[in-house]
Point group: C2
Chain length 314, copies 2
């Protein structure tokens, strides 16, 4: 049985990835922050969970207890542009220092394992329109995006300087059941407690490439299954942009099925660190044989159902 | 009396910079690693020295004891390509983490001070020939150069995201009395213990822009005295490249004045992380009114004299 380590397994994407990998027959270990009772972790397919910093001590503990991983999926790191702007030092430690520790530990103790690094479309930054290819200019313009870029730079350096087998996955706007923040969550919370109209930040015209978490984790697993140097940097995106206006319209009509949906207003002010358009050119991913399965309209309807049933749980 | 903080003041360039600033009328505080008796530190113009990591605790201690700095010169960081290749984690912490800590502390406690970050020509990496301008492609290809690049990226980010007043100085091959490593030191040590011929790594054709430390610290002080946004990134180099062959020929003829100089052989193998040519385009520095004073031939002769008198002291 192949053994995979998922850093940040307790997070939104980490849980879905762990679950998918366990169902695919992997032994899954996890390391990162979060109190996670064993019964809960194993429900998500995680056989062993260590709650703590990514560093030599916890990595050594994990491999002594669970054995040496064949593949490492590095999902730990900052996960909020706004939080990074508020506290850049914290985001730096979560994203950059954790990656530096993981890479150097792998250089010394796990040089033959494959490493999949989950990065973000935020490394592209502003100033792009249309589909963005992996070779496009990297102009991150928030601490969040800068730190993801530094993470990539570290990983690329360890690949070329020390021969580590590394692939970088640039994730776009990942959504799905379990995501308790960002646009869809905020919309549901506002629709639930609706008093008067609904107002969102930004202009509403911002374009994002919405990707369902179930597809994204299959994409990550695909990268884990091919030779690392065959696809060193891969966009995990659908290639289609959808505006916040369109998302809001569908979410409200989904929520208020039997009643007239309220109008959604926009503040008109861009949020700090928020690029206008982030849409993936996904030829590299398609070349690996990957196919998208979840349609956005279905995914949004599912999300509303999930929120109504589970949103308020912790 | 203006107050400056020099991180890494105990290092080769740090000592010379502290001494120069103290003579120019500044109160100089220092923070970084190194056991430095007060009498020794004050001989270099440093009124207060804290031996320790750059972080909120020591930075807070320093300002409580010595007051708030008007200018910070950030010289702390990795200082050896070879050491960085051997232990990239250590170099990452010295260069990148220390900078992240300093920047975030300044964001919170010292937002109006000016920060001069000492970076390196290693950020340009290989593949350049002739004079390299500040806008040239950055292709660092050693962990040392990558980490200096990440340091710059952090600094540039804090300047644009939080309005910190930052200038980046890219240093070339700094030499002078007190430098106890690298080519000149190795050559002197080999000439002193000479048994048979002298052999050096590399091909001998590598080109470097040799800059005397007394000039370099004046260059750094110049950056400290002008508005940070008038010169955000400045090469501190002479614009002239000199090969290792030429350096070795002059050093040996200087050392063996009254006897035939031995021949210097080269291994022919490039050292890891060692670009072929690093020569500065220095129009930005010249525009600030800076003039170079030390000629290389004089500087090398001085170095040999210094080594004979002091080289073996600790």
């Amino acid at each position: 049985m192949k053994h995979v380590l998922v850093t940040g397994a307790h997070g939104f994407i980490g849980r879905h990835l762990s679950s998918h990998l366990a169902k695919s027959g992997f032994l899954v270990s996890g390391l990162g922050h979060g109190i996670w009772p064993e019964s809960e972790a194993s429900r998500w397919g995680v056989s062993q969970w260590i709650n703590g910093d990514i560093g030599p001590s916890n990595l050594g503990l994990l491999t002594r207890q669970a054995g040496t991983p064949d593949i490492v999926f590095h999902l730990a790191g900052g996960s909020s542009v706004g939080a990074a702007v508020q506290n850049p030092r914290e985001d730096f430690h979560r994203t950059v220092v954790s990656t530096a520790e993981l890479l150097d530990w792998m250089r010394q103790h796990l040089p033959l394992a494959k490493l999949i690094v989950a990065s973000s479309a935020a490394v592209y930054g502003a100033g792009h329109s249309g589909r963005i290819s992996e070779s496009a200019a990297l102009q991150p313009y928030s601490p969040y995006g800068r730190h993801k870029h530094m993470m990539e730079e570290l990983a690329t350096g360890y690949a070329s300087d020390y021969g580590l087998k590394i692939a970088i996955a640039r994730l776009f706007s990942v959504y799905g059941p379990g995501l308790r923040k960002q646009l869809l969550w905020d919309l549901c919370a506002k629709m639930e407690s609706q008093q008067g109209g609904i107002t969102l930040g930004g202009t509403g015209n911002e374009l994002r490439d919405w990707t369902h978490v179930s597809d994204v984790v299959r994409g990550l697993a695909t990268l884990g299954s091919v030779a690392a140097n065959s696809a060193p940097v891969v966009n995990i995106g659908t290639g289609t942009g959808t505006s916040v206006h369109q998302i809001a319209a569908q979410m409200t009509s989904e929520w208020f099925r039997d009643a007239p949906a309220p109008s959604v207003q926009f503040s008109g002010h861009a949020r700090p660190g928020d690029p206008f358009s982030l849409i993936a050119e996904n030829a590299s991913l398609t070349k690996l044989g990957f196919q998208w399965e979840h349609r956005l309209t279905d995914g949004l309807a599912d999300y509303v159902r999930w929120y109504r049933q589970n949103g308020r749980e912790t």
